[in-house]
Structure formats: structure tokens, C-alpha cells
């Protein structure tokens, strides 16, 4: 493979392709795209070393807009395609872009199987709680009772929870971020890239056409301080305008305390540990729902584990070492053979 020629510094614009962006005006996807290219530039990733794979959906148009290698595959199956890419070229930076329907409905199985294998792939789920591209049907993250085109009298099916699912499947990096916080998106995408192993990032995304405001209580700038809580590894879990509220453990349960009102010292608060091997805390945090709790965002979990493609390559090398290198003639002549003389 040709090696990159010495690169001049890349700026955000370098990562922007010349394809016209085809999302509705006001769509949350624009902000994510921007923060993504900012992250690319901050990481100075050589463009030819980045490969973005998507399924089908509004969100899945994403690869067209980034000037790297890109693959707009079929609905729900981007993780499979990405795994094939990563197994072939382990040193590419591979990103899966997906929607709530794409990843969790038709693609639910590939999603969990990719996570359990732990390849070094970054998966970003644009969760707008709706099917955007097909014009507004219920998605697996739509809440019970939701009126949509396919549920005119209200949705009955219980929802799927992407973060608990990712944690259970074995994701080694799990994060959540609102589409309104560009800086946080960039930061978390950079962390995801640096993490060795699979990274799963849920972005709370607004579809202003078919599900406008679904995340406003959490994601609107004005609401973020009170209604969300930013998890930071090693720091006590606080939230609120002045960070005067926080989480405390009570038995196995998490409770909200107001340090001033309740007379609780910051030392009594839960300290976030994203790196613990035991995923209980991450799982509990991932299960907290608004409005009962402020909605946790940030990095829930980041642990080390054997990376899939490295294991695969290592085995290939070990076999080659043990049994000798590629020799077609030898293979063809293996087993019992006999000679017919001329």
C-alpha cells in the first residue's frame, strides 16, 4: 500500500467533502458533522487512513460529507462491513455512523456482536427516537405512547436502551452526548478514537421535522445544567447550575442529593469510575432516566480488553510461525499423495 507522503497540517475544512449536505435545515446532524470534522483536525488523522461506514437513514448519509474513505452500506449492517474492513486493514481509523433504527432495530444483532468482539472501531449512534429518512415511524427508542405515522394511536412496544445494551454486550468504551454540545462531542469522539477497542457513543440528536424537541428537556442549553449530569472519571458526580447537587449511593441505589439543602458533603458523593472492570456502576448510571434523574452524559466506561483484529492477526502469525509460511505447493501436496510416472 502506498504510504502517505509527508502531510502538511490539516484543517477542519480538509475533512469536508464537496458533496452538498442533504439534511433538513435545523437538523441536529449538522452540528455533529461539524464537531466530527473538528475532532479529525485536532487528531490530525491522515484522510486516507479514515474510513466511515454507515447503514441507511438520514444519519447514514454522513460519510458522503466527510472527505475520507466512506461506505454507505445497507440498512443495519454497517458493523459487519466495518469489521471486514478492520480485519483487512487494522491500522485504519474506522467509524460506524448509524441511527436508532439502523443500529437498534434492523441492525441490533450486528451491533451487539461487533461490541462483543471488541474490534478497534468507533460507533456513533445518532439517536433521534424516530425513523427520519422514511418520514416518521416509531423507532426502538421511541417512548411508549408515542404517536407516529406507524403508531397513530400510540406506541405499545417497550423501548430499547442503547447504553445498557452496549455495556451488556461488552463494549469497552461507552459514552453519551447531546447534539447541542459541540465541544463535548469533539472531545468524546477524540477519546473514542484514542481508545483501543470498540467505542460506542450515543448522540442525543434532534430531528426537527418528525420528532422536534424529543431531547430538549435534556439537551437544550438552558436545561443542560439541571437536567443532565456530566460524568468525569475520578470526579464526584455533581450537577446543577452551581454544581451543588449530586449523586450518592444508598445501598445499591443511586439517589439525588442537594448538598446544601440536605447538608451533604461532596466527599459523600459517588465518584465516577469509568475504568473499573466491574460494569455495575456504569450500568446503573446508564439506566437512570430523566425526569426522575438528571440524564448522565459523558464517558460511562472505558476499560482495556484484547482487541479483536489484533487477536486475529496474532493467531495468523502464530500459525505461520508454527507451521511454516505460506506455501501453496506444500498445501496442495499435504496429506496422502502418490506419483504417476511418465
Amino acid at each position: 500500500m502506498a504510504e502517505a507522503i509527508e502531510q502538511k497540517e490539516l484543517v477542519r475544512k480538509d475533512y469536508v467533502s464537496d458533496v452538498e449536505v442533504r439534511w433538513c435545515v435545523g437538523c441536529g446532524d449538522y452540528g455533529i458533522l461539524k464537531s466530527f470534522t473538528v475532532a479529525m483536525a485536532k487528531l490530525q488523522l491522515p484522510k486516507e487512513k479514515v474510513c466511515i461506514v454507515s447503514g441507511i437513514g438520514c444519519s447514514s448519509r454522513f460519510p458522503y460529507y466527510v472527505d475520507t474513505y466512506g461506505f454507505h452500506s445497507v440498512h443495519g449492517r454497517a458493523p459487519a462491513v466495518a469489521t471486514g474492513i478492520k480485519l483487512t486493514q487494522p491500522d485504519l481509523s474506522v467509524w460506524v455512523i448509524t441511527g436508532d433504527g439502523d443500529a437498534l432495530s434492523i441492525g441490533g444483532n450486528h451491533f451487539i456482536h461487533m461490541l462483543r468482539r471488541n474490534p478497534d472501531i468507533n460507533m456513533i449512534l445518532f439517536n433521534n427516537q424516530i425513523y427520519g429518512l422514511t418520514k416518521g415511524q416509531a423507532s426502538p427508542t421511541s417512548p411508549i405512547g408515542k404517536i407516529t405515522k406507524s403508531t397513530p394511536f400510540g406506541l405499545i412496544d417497550g423501548p430499547m436502551h442503547p447504553l445498557p445494551m452496549a455495556l451488556t454486550a461488552g463494549a469497552t468504551f461507552v459514552a453519551r452526548v447531546p447534539d447541542t454540545d459541540g465541544a463535548m462531542i469533539t472531545d468524546i469522539l477524540m477519546q473514542a478514537h484514542k481508545h483501543k477497542g470498540v467505542a460506542f457513543v450515543e448522540i442525543l440528536q434532534n430531528c426537527n421535522i418528525f420528532n422536534d424537541g424529543a431531547w430538549f428537556p435534556i439537551a437544550k442549553k438552558a436545561n443542560r445544567a439541571e437536567n443532565s449530569i456530566v460524568l468525569k472519571h475520578g470526579e464526584p458526580m455533581t450537577f446543577g447550575a452551581d454544581n451543588t447537587k449530586g449523586f450518592r449511593l444508598n445501598g445499591m441505589n443511586i439517589e439525588v442529593v442537594d448538598m446544601e439543602k440536605d447538608g451533604v458533603d461532596i466527599s459523600e458523593l459517588l465518584v465516577h469510575d469509568a475504568q473499573s472492570q466491574d460494569a455495575t456502576l456504569a450500568f446503573k448510571l446508564a439506566n437512570l432516566a430523566h425526569p426522575e434523574f438528571p440524564y448522565p452524559v459523558g464517558v460511562f466506561r472505558q476499560v482495556e480488553a484484547p482487541v479483536y483484529e489484533s487477536g486475529v492477526r496474532k493467531q495468523e502469525h502464530e500459525v505461520a510461525e508454527k507451521f511454516g509460511n505460506a506455501d501453496v505447493e506444500k498445501m496442495l501436496h499435504s496429506g496422502e499423495t502418490w506419483q504417476v510416472e511418465a
Binding site: I5, A80, I85, N109, H110, M331
Partner: protein, 633 residues
Amino acid sequence: MQKEVSADKAPDKSSPIDEDRRSNAPEELDITTIRFAGDSGDGMQLLGTRFANTSAVFGKDVMTLAEYPAEIRAPAGTIAGVSGFQLSMGPQDIYTAGDMVDVLVVMNPAALKSNLEHVKEDGILIVNEDTFTAKNLKKVGYDENPLENHALAGYRVFPVGISRLTALALEPLGVEREQVNKSKNLFALGLICWLFNMPLDNTLNWLKTKFGKKPDVIKANTEALIAGNKYGDSNQLFATSYVIKKREKQKQPGTYRYLNGNSALSMGLITAANRADLHLFLGSYPITPASDILHELSRHKEFPVTTFQAEDEIAAIGAAIGASFSGSLAVTSTSGPGMALKTEFIGLAVSIELPLVIINVQRGGPSTGLPTKMEQSDLFQALWSRPGECPLIILAANSPKDCFDTAIEACRLTLKYMTPVIILSDGYIANGSEAWRIPSMDDLPEMKNEFYTNAKKFHPYQRDSKTLARPWAIPGTPGLEHRVGGLEKEDITGGVDQSADNHAKMVHFRAEKVARVVADIPPLEIEGDKDADLLVVGWGSSYGAITRAVMNATDDNVSVASVHLRHLSPLPQDLGDILKRYKNVLIVENNLGQLWTLLRSIYLVDAKLLSKVNGVPFKISEIESKIHEMVKG
């Protein structure tokens, strides 16, 4: 019509072939067909494979057919649980595993009952008499013991106490009953090797390699094998032993091995990747009868080969497409139900125009169908299962060893034309085996591949003027960053384009690209009498039966010709002319007429159809009689 007596009493009249020739000089035979049948647990596949291998190593032409139930182990002693292995061997020109059986070796009443219909009149039956207990007989609906009444009149029956004798032979070793049970088949192998004057050494060697770490097992099996062999030698049961005639035509010199279709396919893929200097990637999900391709390739990681056992067939092909996008020689292997699941992704592969080899080892359908039986009923699916106009290249392998060449050809074409290739194999040739002359590397076609790297004039969908192939530009290459996807693409640039004229153009490009593959198809070889009135046309695993039937008919002074198709999409350029030259055309298929439909449509030829859809390959005789009928008629 005589009933053969048990070995213990020396018979008066017991020569299986000729009553007068009770000498030690073995009798010479031409083509001979042998079938082993027993319970799924009786190790019949192994017994058959070992014997076939021995015959092959011993210089005989051999072809085999494996038949086993869809269950891991159906209830012991039932008809449903019978596992069979048939082989045909001869001095030369063995094209099928044989029609009717000369020698049937059965391990229990169920095997006898379900296989007797395959035995020739006056054929030899070697029967493990120990299993003919009242209980076992009842299980399969025998009211009386067929060894004791006249049910087997017309056959030459040799009851042997295989279970008892194996136990006897292993007694000194003090092994467990289970091991005795497992060694029975080696006793039978020893016996049949004696009967056909085959050596034991290669089986002895094989036992050592196979059970290297289990000396007890080696010992037990060795003893059983030798006991079976000695049993033949030392008693008067068989008045004659046999040898297969010496070959007349000298076999092509070289190194030979014996192998089945799935192994040949796997080795073909590795060889092709190696020659093209590409990483071989297999995305697969287990399914009968294709799983062995996954198993075989998994054993060769050193090349390197990456085998990805995906969560399902969809992910398997998805990963293969990803691997192809990034520069692997990518393959996915499956059978009918799995092909069904790959349909959507195959459409994407056609649309993004990347190399991909898709292997369908056909089994009986529809639906779960007959998982362990053969059929040729997925040709329509290969041609036309995708929504939209979605052409690709289709090749069919025609024998176990031909799977190797077909794999090479598939890789060559997919790399050259940048479009997926489907390989159709089937359960018969996948598990069937034959001897194969290992090619020298010089015999194989060139298989060069260069990734595109020229950033100056790169357009993802700019086509080669001859092949219409687009450039293969893989991630990691500076300056060639581009996007692909399943939406209709703009000509040359590859950008998304939904406009009418462009779509029409791209639909025609994709069709034309596949059509141009005809340039790569060598002229068809007509076998038999070129000037006959009747042409037999086939594809896939019926090759052997058709070829032999045409040879036999020719020997009977019936004038007939045949062509066999490896390329099914596109069809060979000369096929139309050839079809027109014959007054009558007969198409032979294990389906309800899929190639027949295709050829009638394209060439408007009023071809006749010989169809068989029962999970079993054609018998030579079935084709022969149809030929006779049509030539007379």
C-alpha cells in the same frame, strides 16, 4: 440364487463370481461400485473415505458419494438413521460414484433394508449378522430375519459377525466397549481391503497421524483393521478375491491426491489469493453442506487467511464486502437458506462493483428442505434473486476436483471484471471425492492484481474500456478518498445520482460488463459424436453421469453429443450456434428445468428436459435410457 452360508461352515458352493474358479488368483474386475451403509454412529463415512483413499493411492480411478441423515444421530437402528457412502472405482474414466452397487457392506438391518434396492442382481452383500437381532429387525419392520429366509435370494450374501469378531480381536487390549464399537468399521475396512487386494499401509499411517496422541486408539483400530484383513484371508467365506484391472490408457504423469469438492474449492481459493498476492478473507456462517469450506480455510491461517465466523449469513457477506473494499480477496460461502439471506448484500456488491466470490453449495430445497442431499435448484436464484436489474457472473463446478479450477476461475474473473462471481457447487461434489493430479503452478492462469494509486486522474466509476471494470482503490491510499454506496451512482464520479438518464446508463453498464465476460470463455468442448442429431446439455455435478452416459451410448453405436457448461452467466458465445446444429437438444438437470428455461428463452430452442428432483444425483443409466429413447423416438 443361492443363499450364502455363514463363514464358520466351509461352503460347498460359494464363489461369488464363478463357481468353478476357486483359486487364489484374484479375479480381475472393471468398474466396480461399492456401498457402505450403517448407523450414523457406525463410522461409515470414515470407512468409505479410507477405502476410497486407499484405492486412489493404489492407482485406481475413484469417485464417491456421501449420504447421511439431516440429524446428527437419528435413533440408532432406524431407517432414518442410516448413513451411506458409495464409491465407484475402476482402472480409468470413473465419472460418477456409480449407479447400481456390486458390493454392499451393511452394518445393521436398517442399512440393509434401505439400501438393497441399489444392489445389482447377483450382487455381493457383506452383512454384520450380529446386529440382526429380533429387536433390530422389528425396528425396521422385518418380520423375519432376511438372512434366514429367502428374502435375499438373488444376491450373494456373506454374513460376518463383525461386532463379535472385532470384540474378539480387541479382547487382549482390554479396551472399553465403546472403543470396540468404534473400531468395527476398521474391521470392515480390513475385510474389504482383503477382498479387493488393497494394501493396509496407508491406513496404518493415517491412523498414526490422526490419533497421534492416543496410542490406545491407534492400537485398537490397528488390531481391528488387521483382524478384518486376516479374516478374509484365513477363512473360506470368500472363494475369490478381486483386483481392479490395470489401466490401459496411461494416466497423466504427476503427483496425485484424493480430495473432495469442498477441500478442492478451499485450496483453489488459497492458491488464487496467493498468486494474486492478496490476503484471503472468508466471511461465513456454518451450514450443511458448505461448512467444511470454513473449516478447511480456518486451518490455513498461515497464508494468511482470515476466516470470520459471523453472527449470521448477512454479516458474513457484509464483512466480506468490507474486506473487499479494503483490499482482501473476499469470499463468502453458504448453502440455499444462507444464500437467501445474502440477497440484499449481493445486490450491494453488484452496485458497488467490487470483487467478491460467493459460494453456494446447493442442497435440496425449498426452505430447510433436505440439508444433506444434493440438488441443482438454485440456478434461478443465482441468476435472478436480487431486486432490480442485478447481473453477475455465475460459474458451476462439475466434479470434486473441478472445484479447484472453478475457484481459480472465479477469483480471476472477479478481479478482472470487478463484479461478484457466484460459484455453484452441490452436496454431491462437495462431499464426494476423487483423485486429482496436483497442478504445477505453471499450469495455472496468471492472477495479477494491482490496486489503483494514481491520485491525479482518479474517478471511482471510470471504467476500463475493455472490461468496463472500475478501479480498485483501497483505503489507505493517499488522494483516492472516495465514497461508495448502494444508491445509484453517477457515471464516472460515483457520486449519488438519481436522475433518469444516468440510471439507465448504469443499468446498461452493469449488464454489459457481465456480458463482456464471454471474451474470457473458451470455446465449448463437444464430447461424443459431433455430428449426431442429439445434443445433451448439462451443468454442474451431472457432468460425470452425462459424460459416461454419452460414452456408453457411443459404445452402443448410438450417435449422441454433449456439452457441459461451466459458465452460466454469461453463457458461452458459441453455445447458440452449437444448439442450432442439433436436431434435438436434451437438457439434464436436478431441478424442474432452470437451465432449460434459460436456454429456451435466449435461443428459442425447443429443448427437451430430463429432470430429477429427489435429492439424488443422476444415474448414468437414467440418462442413457433417455438418450436411447430420444434417438429411437
